[in-house]
């Protein structure tokens, strides 16, 4: 890619060093390994599986896990593993899209407000606070109900558009404190413009913080998407981990002892968010040269 | 003898090992004496001040004794030291600006503080001392935030000496202040000693000129050890340790101009105290260093009250 070849040398050095420490950091490796394996399962699983749709009826109902049905079957005779694999894909998509959109909005607003300060900051801050106090779930309910949103993409878009304010506030506060440091003044004296200073001086300093924010937004999006799915406002076709949980609850899987129906989706959501958190702690150690030495 | 410190060793625990911040320091102070403790950052002066009153969690008492008015101080035992703090030894911290509770009026705070030490407020004496440091009495009804840096510093001085401690430790109390305020605070400290509010005082600073104005005796430390200790006048006018000489020569005084007399600093930097070098610690930077400096020089009393740790002195 052209971007890597035009990278200034000193940043290439930093990246090479970061990589050196990254491959030696257990927390980072474990965290990413878990997320990556679930992601790969979600991406390639459906391709490999014989079933064309996740909700296909495969025969025996309420079967516990076996060699034939790895995660057993549902009350209606659907294969839980097939649903799980498709659900992972949808869930990652909802999380990545929703979290990604929210993160981009939060970063733009947070960086600009924190760096520019003054009137720009006051206006952006007011806007952020207004969005912050809107009861997100209720708005999403109304939007979904009236517009009849039934695709994962649009659902994620609305989640993204409503869940950024706290992140914007956090990024603004961080930017504000970094802006006062003299290396920002020095960067200006080196002829760098605002955009460059934000991207090359301020953002790298809070990279682990930004990553953490993204993780939380990612997890939040998954949870909001699941909640919407849960009350029947999710995607009409397909399946998601949230939808699986909802079905399991609706058909009393817990009471019937069908643990294989609700444990996989629940555990997967926990594993994704938890592993990203562990990876974040590791990333902090990689990016902070002071933590490295100890 | 009011204070006698012998072979005091205090180490800092770090992840890379123990930093020997104070590596065998001995000295004594008389009643009524102000000892100026000077040296570069990392020489152990603040560690010495802290270890006489409260060690922080990373510090470890690795040896040596401290005796105050004939009683040995349990400096390694945080609890047992409580009996001495404030009553016998008191500290004015470096950032006294943040040492006061911002939500309490100053007068109220003093009352609470004294009650926690089981003492009642002597309002008349309090007013006396506030007058002495040149503050208006109504500061007692104000909040700390309403005071300027110099006023806060003087207020903390009054508070920390209310119980007439035997020893007062003033750690860089003037380094954040403007020159004119600095002079006022320094004079107030002298007044405290002259009025007998404190018997003796250790004045820690990196500003040798200020120490020269305030202290009776100056002790120069280098890399966790005593380099030279002498009456202030003698140390400034006739220093014997090469480090002291170079340090004094690096200070521009008003009257010295670059074109007329170019001063120079001391090349190099102090050794790491994680694993200090054998022999004299100033050896690498010393213009006089010779073979004998491979062995550690003891602090010798070369004339009355003038101690130097150098083979060449």
């Amino acid at each position: 890619m052209t971007t890597t070849t035009t990278l200034p040398t000193e940043e290439r050095v930093v990246r090479r060093e970061a990589l050196y420490f990254a491959v030696r950091n257990a927390k980072l490796l474990i965290g990413f390994a878990v997320v990556l394996s679930l992601l790969l399962l979600g991406v390639f699983g459906p391709v490999v599986l014989s079933a064309d749709t996740p909700n296909e009826y495969v025969g025996g109902t309420m079967l516990p896990p076996s060699g034939e049905h790895w995660f057993g079957t549902t009350t209606f005779g659907q294969d839980v593993f097939t649903q799980f694999v498709y659900g992972l894909r949808t869930t990652f998509l909802a999380g990545a899209l929703g979290g990604g959109i929210a993160a981009v909005i939060a970063m733009v607003i947070g960086f600009v407000a924190g760096y520019r300060g003054g009137l720009v900051d006051e206006i952006l801050n007011m806007f952020t606070n207004v969005v912050l106090v809107i009861p997100t779930l209720a708005v999403l309910l109304i939007i979904n109900a009236y517009l009849g949103i039934r695709s994962v993409g649009v659902q994620a878009l609305f989640i993204g558009l409503t869940s950024w304010p706290w992140a914007a506030r956090a990024i603004r506060a961080q930017t504000f404190s970094l802006r006062g440091r003299e290396f920002v003044d020095l960067a200006r004296l080196s002829g760098m413009n605002t955009r460059k200073i934000i991207m090359r001086e301020i953002a790298p300093n809070m990279s682990s913080y930004l990553f953490m924010t993204f993780i939380l937004l990612f997890g939040g999006s998954i949870l909001i998407a699941s909640s919407l799915d849960f009350i029947g406002l999710g995607p009409t076709e397909g399946i998601s981990l949230g939808l699986m949980l909802q079905n399991a609850t609706a058909w009393s899987a817990l009471q019937l002892g069908m643990w294989w129906w609700f444990i996989p989706p629940g555990a997967a959501i926990t594993a994704i968010v938890g592993a990203l958190y562990v990876a974040n702690v590791g990333l902090d150690e990689v990016f902070n040269p002071k933590l490295r030495e100890t | 003898m009011s204070l006698r410190v012998s072979e005091l060793r205090v180490h800092y625990r770090t992840l890379r090992g123990e930093v020997k911040a104070l590596d065998g320091v001995s000295f004594a102070m008389d009643d009524g004496e102000i000892l100026g403790l000077a040296g570069e950052s990392g020489c152990g002066k603040t560690t010495l001040g802290k270890s006489l009153i409260r060690m922080d969690g990373r510090m470890r008492h690795a040896g040596g004794t401290v005796e105050l008015d004939g009683r040995e101080l349990p400096i390694g035992d945080d609890r047992a030291m409580n009996e001495f703090r404030f009553h016998e030894i008191s500290l004015i911290p470096q950032y006294s600006m943040s040492a006061m509770n911002p939500t309490r009026r100053i007068g109220k705070m003093i009352g609470e503080l004294l009650r926690s030490r089981g003492v009642a407020v002597d309002t008349k004496e309090l007013h006396n001392r506030i007058d002495l440091v040149g503050l208006p009495r109504e500061v007692l009804n104000r909040y700390p935030i309403e005071l300027s840096g110099g006023m806060k510093q003087r207020m903390v001085m009054v508070i920390s000496t209310l119980l007439d401690p035997s020893l007062l430790i003033a750690d860089e109390v003037t380094s954040a202040l403007d020159v004119s305020t600095q002079k006022a605070v320094a004079k107030a400290l002298l007044g405290f000693r002259d009025n007998g509010f404190v018997k003796s005082m250790i004045f820690i600073t990196h500003d040798l000129a200020l120490t020269a104005r305030l202290a009776d005796t100056i002790m120069i430390m280098y890399a966790g050890k005593l380099a030279e200790k002498a009456p202030a006048d003698k140390l400034i006018k006739a220093p014997r340790h090469p480090y002291t000489r170079l340090l004094i020569n690096s200070l521009p005084e008003i009257g010295v101009r670059h074109e007329q007399r170019k001063l120079s600093g001391i090349p190099g930097s102090p050794p790491s105290l994680l694993d200090p070098p054998k022999g004299c610690r100033f050896r690498d930077r010393c213009p006089l260093a010779g073979d004998e400096c491979g062995e550690e020089p003891p602090a010798v009393e070369i004339e009355p009250n003038h101690y130097v740790a150098c083979w060449k002195a």
């Binding site: 902070n288 | 020159v179 002079k183 320094a186 104005r213 521009p252 005084e253 600093g265």
Partner: protein
């Protein structure tokens, strides 16, 4: 070269700028090539604000600042000639990058076409100019270097440009006595290169050691300025006298400030602004006592 002309800075404080605070009040002075001027003041005197305005880091409320006739304009071309070094060496470096990145940023902005090997040689030569050993300081993180080394590297960085004016804002106040004098000597050496240096400080003895001319500030306004020898040996303003008398000296006790017997100002019937007491020695009305 540097001309500061009737510069005022008013800060808006409070919500939506409901109140104002004057940090710098109609200040005028100049710095010539090959000269160090020290700007002396206590905290709140506005000395750092003036430095920041000259560097274009803070906008000017009124008045004008020009370097060789060109007004301050934050941007590449201006910073080719005007640079700054600040108080806290550790805050001047981005902690996650190596210290020598400051040189790389200069190359990217100003000398993108210079080949890497030639640039590396220029950097090494600038580092030797500030009396450092390139092998000891290159390739290290800021926390692995000392404050003195970091400040020298920033001076070396400025020397890579076509520098005319250097603003040195309290650059020695965080350094130890044994290293600070060497950094000051470096500043003095810059004069030989024809550079102008504005040395902002609160320390009178350091200002006296280094500067040809001295500007004394009090609460945002100039109270006295002129040749350093005049201002220090024959201070006319009571504030200057008070400051000088408060400086602790190694070999002499503190003295009380000599009172001002006759106020030149009122004697000559002058009002407002600065009065030229003798050629090149300006003093403000005392306004401290009713003379």
């Amino acid at each position: 070269m540097l001309k500061v002309d009737n510069v005022t800075k008013v800060y808006k404080v409070g919500t939506f700028g409901s109140r104002t605070m004057t940090a710098v009040d109609t200040v005028s002075f100049d710095v010539r090539p090959g000269e160090v001027v020290s700007l002396i003041g206590e905290s709140g005197s506005g000395k750092s604000t003036i430095g920041k305005m000259i560097l274009g880091l803070t906008p000017i409320t009124s008045g004008s600042i020009t370097v060789d006739g060109v007004a301050v304009k934050a941007g590449k071309e201006y910073y080719r000639a005007v640079q700054g070094v600040f108080q806290d060496p550790f805050s001047c470096y981005n902690p996650i990058f190596k210290a020598d990145r400051v040189f790389q940023l200069i190359k990217e902005s100003y000398y993108p076409s210079v080949p890497d090997t030639e640039w590396a040689e220029r950097v090494r030569s600038a580092i030797r100019d500030v009396r450092l050993n390139p092998a000891e300081v290159l390739g290290k993180f800021p926390h692995q270097l000392s404050g003195g080394q970091l400040q020298r590297l920033l001076i070396a960085r400025a020397l890579l440009l076509d520098l005319k004016l250097l603003i040195a804002d309290e650059i020695t106040s965080m350094l130890d006595a044994s290293t600070r004098i060497d950094v000051l000597n470096l500043l003095a050496e810059l004069k030989a290169r024809g550079l102008g240096v504005l040395y902002v400080t609160h320390d009178l003895s350091l200002g006296h050691y280094l500067a040809e001319r001295t500007v004394v500030l009090r609460r945002g306004a100039v109270v006295e300025m002129g040749l350093t020898s005049k201002v220090f040996d024959d201070p006319l303003h009571p504030y200057t006298r008070q400051l000088l008398s408060a400086v602790p000296r190694l070999h002499a006790p503190w003295e009380d400030a000599a009172p001002v017997e006759t106020c030149l100002y009122h004697e000559r019937g002058a009002t407002g602004g600065l009065l030229e007491a003798e050629p090149g020695h300006h003093v403000a009305c005392a306004r401290l006592s009713d003379c």
